[in-house]
Amino acid sequence: MHELSVCQGLIGQVERLVAEHGAKRVTRILVLVGPLSGVEAPLLERAFTIARMGTSAEDAELEVHEMPVRVWCDTCQMETEAALNRLVCGNCGDWHVTLRSGDELLLKSVALDIPEQEPAAAG
């Protein structure tokens, strides 16, 4: 299951953001996943519960937005929805199409718990 490797990459990025922003911990992580990325959302969620242990994302909630598979047909000049294993134009059926959405594997946003900056004590 490669979703664990994927999660480790994700946690690495999140930890860098935590350090950069002086955050205490991560509360929420939003990722965008298209089925053609090769990563399955339920497996990613399960792997995340393992990968987050002992990290600043230990209590974080992982939100996975599944992206639709959409293709652009040059002949019809139109974008249509397609099935994962039938990437053809929904209008004319031609396979000479360009994928417009569906292979995403992106970290979209991270919610951090950042402690209030104490004003420097004078005197």
Binding site: M1, H2, S5, V6, G9, L10, G12, Q13, R16, L17, H21, T27, R28, V31, P35, L36, S37, G38, V39, V71, L84, N85, R86, L87, V88, W95, H96, V97, T98, L99, L105, L106, L107, K108, S109, V110, A111, L112, D113, I114
Partner: protein
């Protein structure tokens, strides 16, 4: 696509990234940080780095993937026999199905690096990068990477290869491309292997397999080959010739980015070098 190395980073991505590969704005809700980075960016950056090394040495790297037992190692053995007088070949062996795949390749007189990865189900860029240190790339024209036998996991990891070759053996179903769309969509060439068995199999139709591949919006060639019949390898060998030519041509047009001799002495500094995409090693690295 990244112009520099051909990795699948869109120009928009590059624009929105800072030197560290991350861009973030702080919206009104100050605790939510917008990031928009590939989750596998670290792997992809290392894959770009591998492409640089390979391009500097004009090496063609081919990532070979299939189910376990579809004939990857047998194809390599037959291919080495056919072209070793013409090209200098090296192999990175990631297939764990049989421990002795690297030995089978070495028996053909070709250097082979076995990647020992334990339980992993795919190769990633860092494993390939480590393996490259054991090879003298100036002595190599074609680098074959035999990936772990698995049609799922290897599809998500860029290794820095120029091309993906996916094998579909005639003893598997001709509907495999529809069942594993991520893998077959990314194939630059699909080889139907064990073609010597097609006459005795009544349920494998190469044209059906081709149709499924087209329906993944993939126009890749899908020739039939058999490791047992060297004469059937012709389309595959021809494809390799063409790929080698492209590598030589591309590197001839390319400014030298590795003016120094990059003899990796990696005892000290830690990889990956976290450098941005369009870098010049001469200025970024201090070897």
């Amino acid at each position: 696509m990244c112009e520099y190395c051909g990795c699948t980073t869109t120009p928009e991505d590059i624009q929105i990234r800072d030197a560290r590969g991350v861009v973030h704005t702080r919206p009104a809700d100050e605790t939510s940080i917008e990031v928009l980075t590939g989750i596998l960016d670290e792997n992809d950056r290392l894959a770009c780095h591998i492409r640089d090394h390979l391009a500097d040495h004009r090496v063609l790297a081919v990532n070979i993937m299939s189910s376990p037992g579809s004939g990857k190692t047998s194809l390599l053995e037959a291919t080495i026999d056919a072209i070793k007088s013409k090209y200098r070949i090296a192999v990175i062996e990631g297939d764990l199905e049989t421990e002795n795949d690297a030995d089978r390749v070495r028996a053909k007189g070709v250097p082979a690096i076995q990647v020992v990865t334990g339980q992993t189900c795919h190769l990633d860029a860092s494993m390939v990068h480590d393996a490259l240190h054991a090879l003298d790339l100036s002595e190599v024209d074609i680098l074959f990477i035999e990936n772990v036998g698995n049609l799922v996991c290897p599809a998500s990891f860029d290794l820095g290869q120029k091309a993906n070759v996916v094998l579909l053996s005639a003893t598997e179903g001709d509907d495999k491309p529809a069942k594993y769309p991520v893998m077959f969509r990314g194939a630059d060439l699909v080889l139907i292997t064990k073609a010597d068995l097609i006459p005795v199999l009544d349920d494998f139709d190469s044209n059906k397999a081709r149709k499924h591949i087209r329906e993944l919006a993939n126009g890749a060639d899908v020739p039939e080959v058999s490791a047992r019949r060297p004469e059937t390898l012709e389309p595959w060998l021809h494809w390799l010739d063409h790929q080698v030519e492209e590598v030589k041509k591309a590197t001839a047009d390319r400014p030298a980015t590795h003016p120094h001799h990059h003899h990796h002495d990696h005892g000290g500094h830690d990889h990956p070098h976290a450098h941005p995409h369009a870098h010049s090693h001469a200025t970024v690295l201090d070897h």
